[in-house]
């Protein structure tokens, strides 16, 4: 295997192919079908890792050999490589390993992985829409996989909100096309200053933002989040909350940096982010069950990410990336731990006695999400606050006040759980006994915990890497140049 950039196509193509072949393969050999998914994902991780090691600055793949403005391109830079790697790694970690998993769920998980890789890599706005829809369909199937009444209701509502978002995004894309006549992100970026810097461009941005914001848990279109996260299997929830929401955020950031970098666009993002933080954190503070508390807290955390990306320049991109990556590690682990203890906060009483490791991990992640110093969460929030401080506009100062208040709320509701965990049990509670996939979930969240602690030790290289990435992401001209100069390395 050479580290040719074209190899990255396989991270989309192979899981996609396997997703549709799995049911057939299952007829031939059930064991083979069960092994195929994880094996392909592991292969993908190896391939992306090799590309990472070869570390070419940025390259472009023209799919099918059609040159960029007309053909569809995959754009490979630090950001897209990082997220492709994370997609494959997280799917591998959160793969439904249980013996009772149906083959359909495995197919859908592979489909989700393929679509997510495509979202991270694609450099064409319509292609992004197609991958986004693919990811949506896969997640609808996964969410309703428990086949219980509440899961079906939650899934239907999720489908409808998603469909609503799709219509908005498609209308936005149509508006962009009427103004510019292109869908290629690089060409859009060239044309945007003249042709999208008007009311129609702004409307298109808002429509696309709301459309893709459905998956990104953006403020007005996130009503599906608590009910879906409370009813779906926790491994699916972890995948959606950890990975798919971040990918939607990354797509939005690409669009924001390349195409819609006007001041109003940033202000809209700031306002929606602040509203997301306020509504999410307050709802989390009021909720009485663990799943929905974590779901609302996830809305709040992603609001923070949006606030970070609304800071103009590299500082904002870096703070946003740091927050997004931190949430990507911490939230799936918290959902997996919550699965272990059932759903009610009262039932957690004394659970630390029964499972001390799980309780310790919960405390670790909660501390990091709140932002207690040596942990990476503190560093990510510090980046956000310093970024906000450097802005003269008073709106950013207001945002900072909201963030600090939100941190207090976060500390309050997380410590409420922690206190209950370490409370002496009144009577020997049965809720604390681990059942089902308890051991697997504990192991997975322990891996996330190790990653979090490793980030504490290697904070300097991580910081350098993120800085270089955000510099590269913010460099619009380089993006345009590399798309048109290469004119595509033939596949």
């Amino acid at each position: 295997m050479s580290g040719a950039p074209g190899m990255i196509m396989l991270t989309v193509a192979l899981p996609l192919l396997a997703a549709f072949l799995l049911p057939v393969l299952d007829r031939v050999s059930a064991t083979l079908a069960r092994v195929t998914g994880p094996a392909l994902l592991a292969l993908g991780v190896v391939m992306v890792w090799q590309l990472w090691a070869s570390a070419s600055p940025a390259s472009v793949i023209a799919i099918g050999g059609f040159a960029p403005p007309l053909g569809i391109v995959f754009y490979i830079d630090r950001l897209s490589l990082l997220f492709t790697l994370l997609v494959l790694l997280l799917t591998l970690m959160l793969w439904p390993y249980g013996k009772d998993t149906s083959i359909r769920e495995m197919s859908l998980t592979l489909l989700l992985a393929a679509a997510a890789c495509g979202l991270a890599l694609s450099g064409d706005i319509f292609n992004i829409y197609v991958f986004y829809e693919l990811a949506s369909v896969a997640s609808f199937g996964l969410v309703s996989a428990t086949r219980t009444g509440p899961a079906f209701i939650a899934a239907v509502r999720y489908v409808i909100i998603s469909g609503f978002g799709t219509v908005l995004a498609l209308t936005g894309i149509a508006l962009v096309y009427t103004q510019t006549g292109t869908l290629n992100l690089a060409q859009l970026s060239q044309l945007a200053p003249q042709q999208l810097d008007n009311v129609i461009g702004m409307i298109a941005f808002v429509l696309i933002l709301l459309g893709i914001g459905v998956k990104a848990e953006l403020f007005p279109v996130n009503t599906w989040v608590p009910e879906v996260y409370a009813t779906a299997k926790k491994r699916v929830t972890a995948l959606l909350a950890g990975l798919i929401s971040k990918l939607a955020v990354i797509v939005l950031v690409r669009l924001l940096v390349l195409v819609f970098h006007s001041e109003q666009a940033l202000q809209i993002l700031l306002v929606l982010g602040v509203l997301g933080v306020i509504s999410g954190e307050l709802a989390a503070w009021r909720s009485r069950d663990v799943s929905r508390m974590l779901a609302y807290s996830s809305i709040g955390q992603i609001g923070l990410v949006f606030i970070a990306f609304s800071i103009p320049g590299e500082a904002g991109v870096m703070a946003g990336l740091a927050l997004a990556l931190h949430h990507l590690v911490a939230k799936p682990a918290l959902f997996l731990l919550a699965d272990r203890w059932g759903n009610s906060i009262a039932g957690l009483r004394g659970a630390a006695k029964a499972s001390p490791v799980a309780a310790a991990l919960f405390v670790l992640f909660a501390l990091s999400l709140v932002g207690v110093p040596p942990l990476p969460g503190f560093w990510a929030k510090l980046l956000l606050v310093t970024g906000l401080l450097s802005q003269p506009a008073s709106a950013y100062w207001l945002a900072m006040a909201v963030i600090l208040l939100a941190t207090v709320l976060e500390a309050n509701y997380f410590f409420r759980v922690v206190v209950t965990l370490y409370d002496a049990p009144e009577h020997t509670s049965t809720a604390a006994s681990a059942q089902g996939h308890g051991r697997l979930n504990l192991a997975t969240s322990a891996v996330f915990g190790v990653a979090l602690l490793a980030a504490v030790i290697f904070i300097t290289p991580v910081q350098q890497y993120l800085h270089a990435t955000s510099v590269q992401v913010s460099d619009t001209q380089a993006y345009i140049d590399s798309v048109f100069a290469h004119n595509g390395e033939r596949q």
């Binding site: 609808f140 509440p150 498609l170």
Partner: protein, 155 residues
Amino acid sequence: MTLPDPGIVLYSGAIGLVVIGIAGIVLSRNLFRILLALAIAEAGANMLLVLAGFRFDAIAPIVTGASTAMVDPVPQAMVLTAIVIGVGIQALALSLILQVYRIYGTLDMRVLSQKLEQSISAEAGVMPGNSQDAPLDDWSMPATASVVAQLEKQS
């Protein structure tokens, strides 16, 4: 009376469809009606996309060798993709709605969200009244009372 410019009629028609669809999604209570409204909105968005590349003085984009102007084929290809995706999602949504109807015997969104709230709360072992939407005192609004009555009748 002269007819307005056909372009304006078509554009306002497309945007009108999207608006009608969105109004339907927001205002309807029946899940099936919401899905139909979604289909209308999607049709509007697709029409907008076709219009983005349409010219009245041009022919269909089929290469024949004649040197007349052609309609932009890219939006038409995209609309084909979008229609296929839309149909797939509507079929999936219908099958999910069918499952919901089999289990609960109703398609009323308000009743269903109450049941959802109840079952999540019951699983968590807390009273559904503790949710953020519940009124503080014991009094209930007329709408809520009718929903509760309906719930009791079904259970």
